[in-house]
C-alpha cells in the first residue's frame, strides 16, 4: 500500500498534541506527572511507529496524495455552510435563546439544501415540539433563554 500524504496530517497533529500536553505536564506536581507522561510517551511512540510504517510504505510502494480518496464526492460549499451554520447556531443560542436560534438555523439550512417549504415547516415544528415535550416538560430542562432576550425582559 502506498503512503498517503493525508496521513502526514495525523502525525503532525499527534506530535503537536504531545508537545502541548508535555509543556503543561512539566508544570504539574511531581506525583501528578506520572500518568500524563505515560500517555504522552505512549502516543508519541505509536505516532513514531506509524511514521516509520509510512516511510517504509513510501520507499517500497511510493507516495500518493490520498486527498481524492478521503474527500471523494466532497461538496465544499455545502459542507462549510453546514459547519459554519452549526457554529453560528451555538453563538446565536447564547444571545437569542434556543427556540429563536433553532428556527433561524433550521430554516436557513433547509432552505439552502432545497427542501420544499412545507417539508421544512413540518420538520421545524416537529423538532421544536419534540424538544419542548421531551426535554422541556419530561426532563425539566430549562433551555437557554439568551442574553439578549434576558435583557429585553
Amino acid at each position: 500500500m502506498k503512503m498517503k500524504k493525508t496521513d502526514i496530517g495525523i502525525v503532525v497533529f499527534m506530535y503537536l498534541v504531545c508537545a502541548y500536553f508535555y509543556s503543561q505536564t512539566v508544570n504539574f506536581r511531581a506525583d501528578s506527572q506520572t500518568y500524563p507522561k505515560f500517555t504522552i510517551i505512549l502516543l508519541f511512540g505509536l505516532t513514531t511507529l506509524y511514521l516509520l510504517q509510512m516511510l517504509v510504505a513510501a520507499k517500497k510502494h511510493g507516495v500518493e496524495s490520498g486527498v481524492a480518496e478521503v474527500f471523494k464526492d466532497f461538496q465544499p460549499k455545502q459542507f462549510l455552510f453546514c459547519l459554519i451554520g452549526a457554529i453560528l447556531y451555538v453563538v446565536l443560542m447564547h444571545f437569542f435563546g434556543f427556540y429563536i436560534s433553532t428556527v433561524i438555523f433550521m430554516a436557513a439550512v433547509l432552505l439552502y439544501l432545497r427542501v420544499p417549504i412545507l417539508h421544512s415547516a413540518i420538520a421545524i415544528v416537529a423538532i421544536i415540539a419534540l424538544v419542548y415535550f421531551a426535554f422541556g416538560k419530561f426532563l425539566g430542562v430549562k433551555l437557554p433563554i439568551g442574553t439578549v432576550i434576558k435583557m429585553l425582559r
Binding site: 496530517g9 504539574f28 501528578s32 506520572t34 500518568y35 502516543l43 505509536l46 464526492d73 433553532t102 430542562v141
Partner: protein
C-alpha cells in the same frame, strides 16, 4: 441458585412497570427508525439518546438504550429488504436474499422472516447473558490495582482494532483518548492539571458530550459533505407478512445455528454484528438443503443473517457489563450510559446492584417481544421513514445533539465541547482513525490511572508490581491477543463477505459501498 432465580423473577416484576414498558416500546420504535435510515448508525442513536436517560432510574435508562440498540440492529433489515440499502452494516447480508424476495413480490415474507429471526436471535442471546455474565463478573473479584490497570489497557487494545484498516491508527486513537482523559483535576491528589484556564474542565471532559460529538455530530458532517440525493422508492408490498408452518420449521435450525454464531461473535473482541450477519448467512447456506435458492431469495439466508446479528446484542453485553470491555462501538456507548448513571461494570453489578442489573436483563428479554410486535406492525411505516432525506436529517440531528449536550449540566460550554468533538470525530473518521477508541479511553483512562498509581504507591514506585501476579500476565497476554485479533477478524470478515456474495461484481461493489456508509 435460588437467590439468582429470585433475582431473575424480581427483575421481571420490576421490568413490567408501566414506565418501563412504555420506554421499551419507545426505545424499540426509535431504534428501528434510526436503523432503517441509511447513514444513521445504532451507536449514533444510542449516543444521541443518552441525555434523555439521565433523569430516569438506572435500570429504565439502560432498558431504553438496550431497546434502541436491538431496534436499530433489526431496523437495518427493512431498508435492506425493500430498497437494497442496508440501514446498518449489520444487515448487509440480509440485502442479498431479502431484496431478491422483494423483486419476486415476497417482501412481506422477507420482512416477517427478518423480524421473526431477529426476535429469536435476540431472545436466545439473553440466555447466555443471564448465565455467563454473573460467572465472568466473579472473576474480577480477584483483581487488584495492577490488574485494573492492565484491564483498562486490554479494553483499549480490543476497541482500537475495531472497524479500522490500520491497527496502529486504532492504537493511536486510544492513546489520544487516554491523554485527553488526563484533562481536569488529578483524581488521586486533586491537583490541577491541563484545564485550558477554565474551571469548567475541573471534572475533565464530559464523556456524554464527547460521545454525542464523536458519534452523532460527526455523522452530521459526514452527511453534509456528500451530495444530497433522493433515496430509492421503498417497494410497496401487498403479500401477507407471515410464514407457513413448513417455512418456520425450515428456518428453525438456521436460527439456532445463527444464535450460537452471533453469541460467540458478540463475546469476541473486535467482532460485531456486521461480521456475524455474514457468518450466519454463510452457515445457513452451507447447511441448507436448498442451496439452489441462495442468491434467488432464500428465507434461510435472511433468517441466518438476521438471527446472527441480533444474537450479537446479548453476547456483546457480557464483557461490557462484567469486565468493562465492550467489543464494538455501540456497547462502548452503552457502557458510557452505565458509567454516567454512576455505575461501574464488574461484580458490584451482580452484588450491590443486582436488582438493577436483573431488571435490565429482564427488560432486555421483553424488548425482544416489543421488537417483534412493533417490527411486524410498523414495517410499512418504517419503510417510508427510511426514505427521509439527508437534507432534513442534517439540521434535525444537529439540534438534537446541541440540546442533548446542553441538558447534562445546562451549560452552553457543553455544546462547545460536543461541537469540538464533532469536528475532531469528522476528521478522525475521514482519516480512518477510531472514534470508539477515544470514547473508551475517556471512560477507561481514569480507571487505568487509579490502578497504575495505586499499584506503584503500594510498591514504593517499583513497576515490577505490574507484572507480579498470574492474572496480570493473563491480561498482558490478552492485550497482545487484542492487538492481533483485528488481523484475524479482518480476514474472517473478508472471507465471509466473499463467500456470501456469490452474485456479480456489481453486487459486491454495491454492498461494500453501503457498508462504508
Amino acid at each position: 441458585m435460588l437467590e439468582t432465580l429470585g433475582l431473575m423473577g424480581a427483575g421481571f416484576i420490576n421490568a413490567l412497570t408501566p414506565i418501563n414498558l412504555l420506554m421499551m416500546a419507545a426505545g424499540v420504535a426509535l431504534g428501528i427508525i434510526i436503523g432503517c435510515m441509511p447513514g444513521l448508525s445504532a451507536a449514533m442513536g444510542v449516543a444521541l439518546m443518552l441525555p434523555l436517560t439521565f433523569t430516569m432510574k438506572a435500570e429504565t435508562g439502560l432498558i431504553v438504550l438496550g431497546a434502541i440498540y436491538c431496534g436499530a440492529i433489526f431496523g437495518g433489515s427493512i431498508s435492506a429488504i425493500l430498497i437494497h440499502t442496508p440501514g446498518t452494516p449489520a444487515s448487509a447480508a440480509t440485502a442479498i436474499e431479502g431484496y431478491q424476495m422483494t423483486l419476486q413480490g415476497k417482501a412481506g415474507k422477507a420482512l416477517f422472516t427478518a423480524c421473526y429471526s431477529s426476535f429469536w436471535g435476540g431472545l436466545l442471546s439473553c440466555i447466555s447473558l443471564y448465565f455467563f455474565a454473573p460467572l465472568l463478573a466473579q472473576l474480577t473479584l480477584k483483581f487488584r490495582s495492577a490488574e485494573y490497570f492492565w484491564l483498562s489497557i486490554f479494553g483499549l487494545t480490543i476497541i482500537a482494532g475495531v472497524a479500522g484498516k490500520s491497527i496502529v491508527k486504532g492504537l493511536i486513537s486510544g492513546a489520544l483518548g487516554l491523554l485527553l482523559s488526563t484533562i481536569g483535576l488529578d483524581p488521586v491528589t486533586g491537583a490541577k492539571r491541563v484545564m485550558f484556564g477554565q474551571a469548567y474542565f475541573a471534572e475533565g471532559i464530559n464523556t456524554t458530550c464527547a460521545l454525542i460529538g464523536l458519534f452523532s455530530m460527526s455523522q452530521v458532517f459526514i452527511l453534509a459533505e456528500k451530495k444530497i440525493t433522493q433515496r430509492a422508492q421503498a417497494t410497496k408490498f401487498t403479500d401477507k407478512m407471515s410464514l407457513t408452518r413448513d417455512e418456520r420449521k425450515l428456518i428453525r435450525p438456521t436460527i439456532l445455528r445463527s444464535w450460537v454464531i452471533g453469541n460467540i461473535i458478540g463475546l469476541l473482541p473486535g467482532a460485531g454484528a456486521a461480521i456475524a450477519c455474514f457468518l450466519g448467512y454463510n452457515t445457513s447456506k452451507s447447511f441448507s438443503k436448498h442451496k439452489e435458492m441462495f442468491g434467488k431469495g432464500s428465507i434461510e439466508g435472511v433468517a441466518g443473517s438476521e438471527a446472527a446479528n441480533n444474537a450479537v446484542t446479548g453476547g456483546s453485553l457480557i464483557p461490557t457489563l462484567t469486565l468493562g470491555i465492550p467489543g464494538e462501538s455501540v456497547t462502548a456507548v452503552l457502557m458510557g450510559g452505565l458509567v454516567i448513571q454512576g455505575l461501574a461494570p464488574g461484580p458490584e453489578l451482580f452484588g450491590k446492584y443486582a436488582a438493577m442489573t436483573y431488571t435490565f436483563f429482564a427488560g432486555f428479554v421483553l424488548v425482544q417481544f416489543f421488537m417483534l410486535g412493533i417490527g411486524l406492525l410498523g414495517c410499512r411505516g418504517f419503510a417510508q421513514i427510511s426514505r427521509l432525506s439527508d437534507a432534513i436529517l442534517i439540521p434535525c440531528v444537529t439540534v438534537l445533539c446541541c440540546v442533548g449536550s446542553y441538558a447534562i449540566h445546562k451549560n452552553i460550554l457543553d455544546i462547545v465541547v460536543m461541537m469540538t468533538f464533532g469536528v475532531l470525530g469528522y476528521f478522525m473518521r475521514k482519516l480512518d482513525l477510531n472514534t470508539a477508541a477515544v470514547v473508551l479511553a475517556l471512560i477507561l483512562g481514569p480507571i487505568g490511572e487509579k490502578g497504575l498509581r495505586n499499584a506503584l504507591k503500594s510498591s514504593g514506585g517499583d513497576p515490577a508490581i505490574l507484572f507480579s501476579t498470574v492474572v496480570s500476565w493473563v491480561l498482558i497476554a490478552l492485550c497482545i491477543v487484542g492487538i492481533l485479533s483485528p488481523i484475524f477478524m479482518g480476514k474472517l470478515e473478508k472471507k465471509a463477505e466473499k463467500e456470501a456474495v456469490s452474485g456479480t461484481a456489481e453486487d459486491i461493489e454495491k454492498l461494500t459501498e453501503e457498508d462504508s456508509v
